[in-house]
């Protein structure tokens, strides 16, 4: 892999320096333990953090492919950050590029209808047009990387494998869902209460832009 020298980043940014991707546990394949976990609906604890309070019943958002988060994140124990790889180094988590899907699915489950649809997109050189589920207003500045730093990478009590528990703060139990479904209000009160409980910054301009 050659390093590209043609560009530089905003303020020379690079990814998170504290813990590299190498520490992410990417476990492929089914484990018996996973099946066991499925039977519980307990929200696992994130040590050193008080989860935000509030619930919301979002509408079902149809997606071009009914992506099964449960199979990936729960059954196969794939770390959230394996696909949403930008979350730890950018303000946005990002939707994984189609090439990442194909990295596995050019060999795995190629006969399944959803994978056939995905392969069709890939062969047409066109990423699937995903619809947005979690959104905040334009005047809100939210950064994934700093939240992950606070609750995961700076939190020695939380193994990186359990990052989904932190994601669940705002995204709900995505690993029990197929396509993502909004279950948290993501409004100012929701953010504020969590910032209060966890001593986050409390200044308007931290989050409003």
């Amino acid at each position: 892999m050659s390093v590209n020298h043609q560009c530089s980043y905003d303020s020379g940014r690079r990814g998170n320096a504290r813990r590299g991707l190498g520490s992410l546990g990417i476990v492929l394949g089914v484990t018996a333990f996973a099946a066991l976990l499925l039977s519980f609906t307990v929200v696992a604890e994130v040590p050193g953090a008080i989860p935000p309070q509030g619930a919301h019943d979002g509408k079902d958002v149809a997606q071009p492919i009914e992506f099964p988060h449960n199979i990936h994140a729960d059954v196969n124990k794939i770390n959230c950050m394996y696909c949403h790889t930008y979350a730890r180094r950018s303000k946005v988590a990002g939707i994984p590029p189609t090439s990442k899907c194909m990295g596995c699915h050019s060999v795995i489950a190629t006969d399944k209808p959803r994978i056939k649809k995905l392969t069709e997109y890939w062969e047409n050189r066109e990423p699937p047009p995903w619809n947005k589920v979690h959104d905040v207003p334009d005047y809100v500045h939210f950064t994934h990387e700093k939240h992950l730093k606070r609750f995961v990478f700076d939190n020695d009590a939380l193994p990186t494998e359990n990052v989904s528990e932190v994601c669940a703060f705002c995204h709900g139990e995505v690993k029990t869902m197929t396509v993502a479904h909004k279950t948290k209000p993501l409004n100012m009160g929701f953010c504020k209460r969590c910032h209060e409980a966890n001593h986050g910054p409390f200044d308007c301009w931290q989050c409003h832009k």
């Binding site: 043609q6 980043y9 905003d10 189609t98 990423p127 699937p128 995903w130 947005k132 909004k182």
Partner: protein, 748 residues
Amino acid sequence: MSANKVNRREFMKIVGLSGAGAALAGCDMPTTVTLEEGKERVVSYLVPEEYVIPGIGVWFASTCQACPAGCGFHGRVREGRVLKLEGNPDSPINYSKLCQMGQASLQTHYNPDRLTQPLLRQNGELSPVSWDEAFKLLEKKIGAGSGVSGDKFAWVTGTVSGHQAVLIKAHLEALNSGNHFVHEVINTAVGQAVSRDMLGDARPRYRLDRAQAVLSFGADFLGTWNSPVHFATQYAKFRAAPRGVLIQAEPAMSLTGANADLWLPVRPGTEGVLALGIANSLIFKHHVDASHLPLTVRNLIANYPFIEVAKVTGVSGDLIERAAAMLKKHSPSLVISGPSAEGHVHGYESATAVMLLNILLGNVGQTIEPGHSFPLPQLAAREGNTADLLSFAEGLKNKRFDTVFFYGTNPVYTAPASLSLEEHLAKVPFKVAFSMFRDETTALADLVLPIRSALEDWGTHAAGYQPGEPVLGFQQPLMEPLYQTTRGMGDLLLALLTMQRASDYAPFADYYAYLNNFAAGLPAGVRHGAANDKEFWQATLQTGLIKLVGEARTLSVSASTADLPAYKVDSEYQYHLVPAARLGMWDGRHANIPWLQEAPDQITKTVWDSWVEMHPATAAKFDVKVGDYVRVSSAQGSIEAQAFIYKGIQKDAIAVPMGRGHTEYGRYNVDPTGKPRGVNPLKILSPVTDSKTGELALFATRVRIEKTGRTHELVKMGSNDTQLGRKLAATITSDQFNRTEGGKTDVA
């Protein structure tokens, strides 16, 4: 992952496949967001390049095309869109700085009035055709079997350099034609001729940073002269303690004039006389040694005692005296001439008189140093002028051409009405315009080919004025073309050449391959240690330029006399028209940029419209108040605009800014009633030329003025021209400044 095999160029293509959606990948495309889930798309990349991270900007280096100065910039790209440009710190032209035109070139790229498909004149109207049809037509008209060749064919362009210049030249050679007319209204052609004749180098380098005094005769080096951003960076050093003094002599205040310590209001056309008057004072009053000047020159200067000079130039004896004293006190100095001194019948002579001051003061070799040769002469800038416009117009009149190609210039807008360009062009059977916009020239073309913007295309560019070791600026696309139906200019030139010389040009898949091939052929000396072709290419794209190694030329001074005619009064047309050039509208090419229309003019603070600058004494004569519509008439026509009254203009001069009054240039040039915004002073210029160089004498037009009776508030920023006694812009003397900030008071 296949991403590793995809080079940057293919990556652009791939990103493009996801179309506008790619822009949304960062989840925060600015919209008035509703919080209803599922309303917005969040399209991912197909195969992103390693360095693409949504939400984080990536910076790419390229070369600015907003004027011919050739500044380098870095563009910030996020989610497939270029968002912001900043100066390239590696560029020896502009370091890390940009002017407002460079900043605003984003809006040339994203302009809503861009042409998106080829247009062909059918039944008198330009209507869309496919590229296939366009190429078939081109093949038929100028292809190998068309029979077009020689004198019948012409290219009319703005300043071109780099591989565009190479390919245009090759195309002309293939067609056996020598007709390349290179037209720029804002140019330094007369000054270059004088430098060539008196210093032996048409392109010497000016070292403001070394000067302790600068006397400029209408050279707006902070705004429109040669390389404004470069000179601004030098200006900062010039103004540091011990602070240099700036004296500006010109009929109407330019941006540089507004920054002068001493601004001399000189009657248009008498700049040469003023220069000799100052020389006279220096020799006879301040005893500057003139023994190194030939006797003829000393005799010439002796004929211009400052009392006489004051009468002719309108500059008071006191001001002439002060200018001479400053030049005597501060050394070394630098004396330069610009368009307002050079744009007369005797413009060359005036510039000669100005250059004599440099020779008298011993500035040559001190603050004027020889330029470097451009080691790849075929890539050097082919700089525009107005003499080419005149010979093109003459050719049109004589029906010399049956096929004309236009690129990077808008002569139908910039040519004076007296040239009847529109009328003569109508008789040319086949006119092709390569353009991003519908402008006055494009509107008359028979075939219009929409080209890519500077931020979407490949290219190489060399500035005409190279302030240091010569550099070749590299241009690379910062994003996928907004319109897939546009073509790169280089690609089009290659396609044209392939029609003629398939064996030479068909091997290049496209302009990118052509440039790649060029870079691979460069000698080791300019590769700055790159191990192989690929590494060199990467390094070039990263820095956005190739630093070449040129040889310093030598200066050989020959002081010749200047033949300055006596000043003549015109009793019918009593005033001189000054077509003022500004950093902003430039020659009119930036009039379709909303930011530049809204950014107030630096001197008058007027926005979105033209104005007529008048001295309060002149205004009083005609009972004109600020905002009154004034008619300015020359023998060639008249224009009307609102009066702006101030003391920054000579009493016999009337200034109207260039750049507005477009009849075709998109939505930002039309007012709500459908009329053009502003007026174009170039239209009413007299067809007078500089007798030595054949350049159009832009400042030689005489006009009369009338009050129209219409009036309206002049729309400008701020209502106060004075500080009303508050300490807003406080001023101290340079003695005090030098005392407190480390300089010396007397720098002799």
